[in-house]
């Protein structure tokens, strides 16, 4: 009956309870929706890193990451590719030839990394083909097709079908060049990537730099599911100890740090909100105790022990907190579901966001685990906020409490 008495006590002063429940609901809503927004934001960036820029795992010559030197290649990359593709966790693998080069249009020039790919394989690993805003993704049979980023196209002042000249060095160090026609222009959320990467067929690039047919600089591996990258990377490391096998988290440690620190920051943010709400709850419960001194005195007099009185007040506080918390969480989940589909358009800040690699349209999302954590934090807030008022209540002496004139 104590559970029932506590619940009914919450609704004795409806106005006061509704005020504090509304405050809790708004605070929790703000906290949970902020978490959803940040999760969506970070996850979009992680998805872009995995699906567009890096894939789950990359394999290089041990020196390549340091030197970026075309001589640091993997001689028989096809063997590594086959070994990777044979793993059940691997969805697809794509080998690439890389070359740092100068690209020149009639107007100007720019430095970039030319990525030689096998388009059919690459489409299974990256989603760059979905990011095309003009032209096509190596659909023509002609040689020397080039797919470049919009930012680079704007910088070079070139359009689709424009011709550009690429200057690079052959494997023997001889300076060479080739004319390419722009057949596709892509745009990702990362403007720096768009400016620094251009794609050609691997065969065209291999001919140009005169590298062996079976050689390659990079093997990008996409897995069937996230969170398996370290396990698969470790397996490949064991198999190919002479190569550098890195997961995306190792290639971009800043992303890992950002992800972890953002998670921590979000929970700190929620804890600060709940701490502020906690003081409001303490204040409300102190008023409740003050109003009910006589009643608490009576309960003690008739034989309700201190543990039960303490429990009654803690339960009352938890009900108050949880009601507000559940309303706040429900509102946040509903809004997350809606904006998770429609997206939140931050195009006013698109340039700044894109330069950091973030999309300008954010799709908030929230995991069940975050909802559980926030719910537990709300309950914990209720329990902690109840301790002081409940202690005050159990310290009352029944004879004194009954004598008080309300």
């Amino acid at each position: 009956m104590i559970w029932s008495v506590s619940w009914r006590n919450v609704w004795r002063n409806k106005t006061r309870s509704m005020v504090i429940i509304t405050a809790i609901a708004l605070g929790v809503f703000a906290g949970v929706y902020t978490i959803a927004f940040m999760f969506g934001w970070i996850n979009q960036r992680i998805n872009a890193v995995i699906n567009t820029e890096i894939s789950h795992i990359q394999v290089h010559h041990p020196e390549y990451i340091e030197t970026n030197d075309a001589h640091d290649y993997i001689p028989d990359i096809k063997t590594i590719q086959s070994a990777a593709e044979n793993k059940t966790q691997v969805k697809a693998a794509s080998s690439r030839v890389l070359s740092t080069c100068m690209i020149s249009s009639a107007e100007t020039g720019s430095g970039l990394q030319l990525v030689g790919i096998n388009p059919e394989k690459e489409q299974q690993v990256t989603n760059l083909h979905e990011k095309l805003i003009e032209g096509n993704y190596f659909e023509e049979t002609k040689k020397n097709q080039l797919v470049i980023g919009k930012k680079l196209a704007d910088k070079l002042k070139v359009k689709l079908r424009s011709k550009v000249v690429v200057t690079l060095t052959e494997m023997d160090g001889t300076l060479t060049g080739g004319a390419f026609r722009i057949t596709g222009i892509y745009q990702t959320a990362n403007s720096e990537y768009d400016e620094r990467k251009a794609f050609v067929r691997a065969s065209d690039l291999k001919n140009l730099i005169k590298i062996d047919e079976n050689a390659g600089h990079e093997l990008a591996i996409l897995l069937n599911e996230n969170n398996m990258e370290q396990k698969v990377a470790d397996q490949l490391k064991a198999e190919f100890s002479n190569l550098e096998v890195m997961s995306w988290l190792e290639i971009m440690p800043d992303m890992k740090m950002m992800n972890e620190s953002m998670n921590l920051m979000m929970y700190i943010f929620v804890v600060i909100i709940l701490l502020a709400l906690g003081f409001g709850i303490v204040n409300t419960m102190l008023m409740v105790i003050l109003e009910r001194i006589k009643e608490i005195g009576m309960l003690m007099a008739i034989g309700m022990n201190k543990v039960r009185i303490f429990t009654m007040i803690v339960l009352e506080t938890i009900y108050l907190s949880l009601t507000g918390g559940v309303i706040g969480i429900a509102l946040a989940v509903v809004l997350t579901a809606i904006t998770g589909k429609t997206g939140l358009n931050l195009s006013l800040w698109a340039e700044g966001l894109n330069s950091l690699g973030f999309d300008a349209v954010i799709y908030p999302e929230i995991g069940f685990d975050a909802v559980i954590v926030v719910t537990l934090l709300v309950i914990l807030t209720g329990v902690i906020a109840a301790i002081y008022p409940a202690r005050k209540a159990i310290k009352l002496k029944p004879a004194d409490a009954l004598r008080i004139e309300m």
């Binding site: 006590n9 009576m298 007099a301 008739i302 022990n305 002496k397």
Partner: protein, 228 residues
């Protein structure tokens, strides 16, 4: 049979500036089936005496022996349990739990005692019928008159099957008709079920009904009159 015995009872309130001897060496005992009123002017010590009898306050000196137990020796948590099992309370301002119905108020104390649901329900119905509130069992206190609330309080006080019931000015907030009804019910319970009632009161209507009248002045018992 003696159910309560007060031996050389002294209660001094000492708030560091003033010392007040509210109860001064009282020796008193109550028998099973007593229907006693403690009377006296305001400040005479009757509420203090009632609080000491009920274990709501502890004596400065002396003993309060209830059914062979000196309640002065009990710790505060033991005292709470002792009150739950042995003493029924009726307060001047009824002091029912406002969020519970009449039946739930009566059942509440039995739940504290750990009684089973069926037993609680049956006894609460019997008691509420006995105080004439069979039709109002599902009403909350705010829906009941003062007299009805006090009758629920009496039912609640009896729910735990106490050794005796302490009633502090039970009729102070009631009109004549409600007072008469309440006193008739308590007298009937006293007569038929041998339930011991000890009142502190100013109310002459209560004094008239009481079978024993103890007059307290300045912390002393000045008279102890047994009528029947």
């Amino acid at each position: 049979m003696k159910i309560v015995e007060l031996k050389n009872l002294v209660k001094i309130y000492d708030d560091s500036e003033v010392k007040v001897k509210a109860v001064d060496n009282i020796n008193l005992s109550f028998e099973e089936g007593d229907f006693a009123a403690i009377v006296g002017p305001s400040g005479s010590g009757k509420t203090t005496l009632l609080n000491l009898l009920g274990g709501l306050d502890t004596p400065t000196e002396g003993e309060i022996v209830v059914n062979g137990t000196d309640i002065g020796d009990l710790s505060s948590s033991e005292l709470i349990n002792f009150r739950l099992q042995n003493i029924g309370f009726v307060f001047q301002a009824y002091n029912l739990i406002p969020v519970l119905t009449a039946k739930e108020n009566v059942e509440f104390i039995m739940e504290l005692q750990g009684k089973k649901r069926k037993e609680r329900s049956q006894r609460s119905m019997e008691l509420l019928s006995a105080v004439g509130l069979k039709e109002r069992v599902h009403s909350r206190p705010s829906r009941l008159s003062g007299g009805q609330q006090q009758r629920v309080a009496v039912a609640r006080a009896l729910a735990s099957k106490p050794k005796f019931v302490l009633a502090d000015e039970p009729t102070a907030n009631l009109d004549s008709k409600s007072t008469e009804t309440l006193l008739d019910i308590m007298e009937k319970l006293n007569k038929e079920e041998k339930i011991t009632f000890i009142f502190s009161t100013h109310d002459q209507r209560v004094v008239k009904k009481a079978h024993r009248v103890i007059t307290v002045e300045d912390g002393h018992v000045v008279s102890d009159e047994k009528r029947k």
